[in-house]
C-alpha cells in the first residue's frame, strides 16, 4: 500500500537514475535515437520538399478561384486554355474580376558573361499582382516600364548575379530580347525549374513565343460575400468543358496527387519515406529494448521487494519516453542543419513545420514507449530468481 503510493513520486527520478548511471551507454542510446530521428526527418523532408516546392507558386496565388485547362494536372507540360473562357467567367454572377497569368516554362535568360539558362517566366498585369509575395510588395509596379523583370532571389545559383540590391538594375536577355531586372522576389526552385522571373503582360506579349489568345492560369476574384461553391457551379454549367474552376487548396491538392501517382520522383520519395520510417522506428525499438533488457535484474529486485507490476511498467515507460526525448532534441537540431544544407544545395524547399516536427516526435515517443512496454512485459513475466 505504502509502496503503491510512493510509486507516483519516485518512478520519475528512479527511471532517470537507471538511464543515467551508465553515461556512455546513455550517450550511445541517445545517439541511436537521434540518428533515427534524423532519418525520419530526412525522408519526410524529401517527400514534402518535392510537393511543397512544386506547388509553391500555386499556393502563393492571389485569387479566390483559379481557372485551368481541364487536362492540367501539373506545372508542366504547358497546358493553356483559351483566354476567352476567362472573359466569359467575368460575366458570371458573383465574379468581381478575372486576371490572366501567363507562364513560359523554359525561357532562356542570359546575363553578360554567363551562359544562357532556362528560367520559368510568370507574366501578369503589374497593377494587379498574381501572387502574394510579401518580400516584393510593390515591386511589381516597377514592371509598368516595358522590358523590365523581377528575378526570384531564391533561384538556384546558376544565373550569375540576379540580386538587384542597391544597383539600378541588371541587364540581360530574355529569349533574345533586352531585359532589365529591376527588383527581386522570393519564391524558390523545384525539381523541374531552376529559377523564376516575373514580367508584365505587355513585356510578355512582345516575346517571340508569347501566346496572345491562350493563358496557363486564370485568377478569379469574387465579389465580397459571394459563395465560392455557387460560382464554381455556375462556371461549370455556363463555361466550356475544356476548363476547370478550382479553389487554391483544390489546385494544390490536384498537383500533389498527380505527383504522388504519376511522377517517378513522387513514387521514389514516397517509398523512401516508408522504408525510412520502418528503419527509424526499428532503431527506436532496438535501442529501448536493449536498454530495458539491461536493467532486468534491477526491475526484478524491485518486484521481489514488493513493488507492484504497475510501478515497473510505469518505470519502464518513463525510461522509454525519457530516452525518446533526449534523442529527439539532438535529432531535431541535426535535422534543422541538414534541412538548411539540403535547401541551399538542391534548391528544394525543406520546411520543418511544427506539424511535421510534432509527427516525428509522436512517432519517436510512441515507438519508444511501445518497445519499452514490450521489454517491461518480459521483465514482469520473468522469475526474479532466474535473473541473477
Amino acid at each position: 500500500m505504502a509502496l503503491g503510493k510512493c510509486a507516483v513520486g519516485t518512478a520519475g527520478p528512479l527511471a532517470w537514475a537507471m538511464l543515467s548511471h551508465d553515461r556512455p551507454r546513455l550517450l550511445g542510446s541517445t545517439l541511436g535515437i537521434a540518428f533515427a530521428v534524423l532519418l525520419l526527418f530526412t525522408e519526410l523532408g524529401f517527400l514534402n520538399g518535392v510537393y511543397d516546392s512544386t506547388t509553391t507558386p500555386l499556393s502563393r496565388l492571389d485569387a479566390d478561384l483559379v481557372m485551368i485547362h481541364r487536362m492540367k494536372e501539373n506545372m508542366f507540360p504547358a497546358t493553356p486554355f483559351p483566354l476567352r473562357r476567362l472573359e466569359q467567367a467575368r460575366a458570371i454572377r458573383g465574379v468581381e474580376s478575372t486576371h490572366a497569368l501567363y507562364i513560359i516554362l523554359a525561357a532562356s535568360w542570359k546575363s553578360s558573361g554567363q551562359p544562357a539558362r532556362p528560367v520559368r517566366v510568370f507574366a501578369f498585369d503589374p497593377r494587379r499582382p498574381a501572387f502574394h509575395l510579401p518580400a516584393a510588395a510593390g515591386a511589381e509596379l516597377l514592371l509598368v516600364e516595358p522590358q523590365t523583370a523581377l528575378f526570384d532571389a531564391k533561384s538556384r545559383r546558376l544565373y550569375g548575379n540576379i540580386d538587384v540590391g542597391a544597383t539600378g538594375g541588371i541587364e540581360g536577355e530574355l529569349e533574345g530580347h533586352k531585359m532589365r531586372i529591376v527588383g527581386n522576389f522570393r519564391m524558390g526552385s523545384d525539381l523541374a525549374f531552376f529559377g523564376n522571373m516575373i514580367v508584365s503582360k505587355e513585356t510578355y506579349l512582345r516575346l517571340p513565343d508569347a501566346q496572345r489568345e491562350e493563358v496557363e492560369l486564370g485568377l478569379i476574384e469574387l465579389e465580397s460575400g459571394a459563395d465560392a461553391e455557387g460560382v464554381k457551379q455556375l462556371c461549370r454549367t455556363s463555361l466550356g468543358k475544356d476548363v476547370l474552376i478550382l479553389d487554391k487548396a483544390e489546385l494544390v491538392a490536384r498537383v500533389q496527387s498527380y505527383w504522388r501517382t504519376n511522377e517517378p520522383a513522387g513514387t521514389v520519395f514516397g517509398i523512401g519515406m516508408v522504408v525510412g520510417f520502418v528503419v527509424g522506428i526499428m532503431i527506436c525499438c532496438e535501442v529501448l529494448f536493449s536498454q530495458v533488457a539491461d536493467h532486468l535484474p534491477q526491475l526484478a529486485t524491485l518486484r521481489a521487494v514488493g513493488y507492484p507490476g504497475s510501478f515497473l511498467v510505469k518505470l519502464v515507460l518513463l525510461q522509454g519516453c525519457g530516452l525518446a526525448l533526449t534523442g529527439f532534441i539532438p535529432g531535431l537540431l541535426a535535422s534543422i542543419t541538414v534541412y538548411r544544407g539540403l535547401e541551399r544545395l538542391s534548391g528544394i524547399q525543406m520546411w520543418l513545420t511544427p506539424g511535421r516536427a510534432g509527427l516525428v516526435l509522436i512517432l519517436t515517443v510512441s515507438m519508444c514507449a511501445i518497445s519499452a512496454g514490450l521489454a517491461a512485459s518480459k521483465a514482469l513475466r520473468a522469475d526474479p530468481a532466474e535473473l541473477f
Binding site: T42, G49, P77, R117, S189, T267, C285, E286, L342, L345
Partner: protein, 375 residues
C-alpha cells in the same frame, strides 16, 4: 569450433537474436534502397544517348543537358563534316511536348526526338532497330519501357502530341528515367510539324569519326573550325556532362546523393548499436572464456566472428528484401533498378567492414571489465 560457438550463441538467444538480425537487415536494406535510387538516376541520365551510335557530338555553348540543350545553326554540321577524319554527321532535334496519353486521355510531358531517317547508321544498331517506317509523316517509334502508371504503348497505337495524331510504328525498350514520362522518336519532318521547330536550328549533332584517326586530334581540328557558339565533345565527355547535370545540378541527384550519405551514416550507427548490444549481452560468457584461459586476442576474434555472422544473416535477408523492393519500384516507375552483382558485392563488403569495425569497437569494453565483477 569457434564458428559453431558463434552460431550457437545466436541460436541460444532466440527472439532477441531474431530482432537483432531483423534490425541489421533493415539497416542494410536502407542502403540498398538509397543506392538503387542514386544509380537509377545516374544510369537513366545517359540512357538516352544509347539510342545513337556516335563518337562525338556538336552542341550549343549553352548546352546544359539534353533537355536544356539550346541549338546550333545547321551550317555547323557542314563545317564539321568538312574536317578531315570526320566520317559523317547527323542532326538530332529534341523538345518536350504535351502528349495525350491514349488510354486515360491524360496530358503528360513527352520528350520527342527528331531524326533524319537517311542517317540510319547513327541509330542502328544502337537503340533503334529500323528508322525506315518513320519516312511516312506522322509516325513515331516509342520507348515501350514506360511506367504502366501512365500508359501502355505498343506499335499500332495512335496517340496525340500537341494537337496532332501520331501513329506508333515501332518500339524499343530503354526507360525514360526522370527526364520525361515517355520518349518518342520521329523523322525530322514529323518533328518540325509537331513542334514548329525550324530544322535549321539543331539541338545535337552526332559525329562519326574515322576509327583510324585519333579522336582527340580530330576533335581539336573541329574545334578550330567552329565559332564559339558551338562546342564539340567526345561521347564519353558528353555523357559525363549529362551525368553531372543530373547528379550535381538537378535537385533530384543532389537529394539522392545526400540520401545515400544519411542512409550510410544511420545504417552504420544501427549496426554498431546492435552489435555492441550483442557484445554487452555476452560479456559474462566472454569473461568466463577469459577466466578459463582464452587470450584476449582469441576472444576478440570470436566477437568479430559473431558480428560477421550476424551481419551476414542481415545482409542475406536485406538482399532478398532489396530484390523485392527493386521489383516493386521498377514496376511502378520503370526506373532501372537492378540488383546486379557489383551492387551485391559493394553492399556485402560495406556491411562486413562496418560490422567488423563495430564489433572491434564494442569488444573494447571487455578489456575494461573485471571477470569477477560480472557475476
Amino acid at each position: 569450433m569457434r564458428a559453431t560457438l558463434a552460431l550457437s550463441n545466436i541460436v541460444h538467444h532466440g527472439a532477441r537474436a531474431v530482432l537483432s538480425v531483423a534490425g541489421l537487415a533493415l539497416a542494410v536494406l536502407l542502403v540498398y534502397m538509397q543506392l538503387g535510387f542514386y544509380r537509377s538516376c545516374e544510369v537513366s541520365a545517359t540512357r538516352v544517348y544509347d539510342l545513337f551510335a556516335f563518337d562525338a557530338a556538336l552542341v550549343s555553348s549553352q548546352y546544359f543537358g539534353i533537355s536544356d540543350s539550346g541549338t546550333i545553326p545547321r551550317t555547323r554540321l557542314l563545317q564539321a563534316a568538312s574536317v578531315q577524319g570526320v566520317d559523317s554527321v547527323a542532326p538530332v532535334y529534341v523538345e518536350f511536348s504535351r502528349w495525350l496519353e491514349p488510354r486515360t486521355r491524360r496530358s503528360i510531358e513527352v520528350l520527342i526526338f527528331g531524326a533524319d531517317p537517311a542517317s540510319q547508321h547513327f541509330f542502328v544498331p544502337a537503340g533503334l532497330r529500323d528508322l525506315s517506317p518513320l519516312r511516312r509523316a506522322g509516325t513515331v517509334i516509342a520507348d515501350l519501357e514506360i511506367s504502366p502508371l501512365y500508359s501502355s504503348l505498343s506499335p499500332g497505337i495512335v496517340t496525340e502530341v500537341g494537337e496532332r495524331k501520331l501513329e506508333v510504328v515501332g518500339g524499343y525498350r530503354s526507360g525514360p528515367g526522370f527526364a520525361a514520362k515517355a520518349v518518342l522518336v520521329g523523322s525530322d519532318h514529323t518533328f518540325t510539324a509537331l513542334t514548329d521547330h525550324p530544322l535549321n536550328r539543331v539541338h545535337l549533332a552526332l559525329l562519326q569519326i574515322d576509327n583510324r584517326a585519333p579522336l582527340q586530334e580530330v576533335l581539336a581540328r573541329i574545334r578550330e573550325r567552329l565559332p564559339p557558339d558551338t562546342q564539340v565533345h567526345s561521347r564519353r565527355h558528353i555523357e559525363a556532362r549529362e551525368r553531372h547535370y543530373w547528379m550535381a545540378v538537378k535537385p533530384i541527384g543532389i537529394m539522392f546523393t545526400s540520401g545515400i550519405l544519411i542512409a550510410g551514416l544511420v545504417s552504420g550507427v544501427i549496426l554498431y548499436q546492435i552489435l555492441s548490444t550483442q557484445v554487452r549481452n555476452h560479456l559474462g560468457e566472454y569473461a568466463t572464456l577469459e577466466a578459463i584461459g582464452w587470450t584476449p586476442h582469441r576472444i576478440k576474434a570470436l566477437v568479430v566472428e559473431e558480428g560477421l555472422v550476424y551481419a551476414l544473416l542481415g545482409y542475406l535477408i536485406a538482399s532478398a528484401g532489396a530484390d523485392l523492393l527493386y521489383r516493386v519500384l521498377r514496376k511502378a516507375t520503370s526506373l532501372p533498378m537492378d540488383l546486379n552483382p557489383a551492387r551485391l558485392i559493394t553492399v556485402l563488403v560495406l556491411t562486413l567492414a562496418v560490422a567488423a569495425l563495430s564489433s572491434l569497437l564494442a569488444v573494447r569494453q571487455l578489456g575494461r571489465t573485471d571477470p569477477a565483477e560480472l557475476f
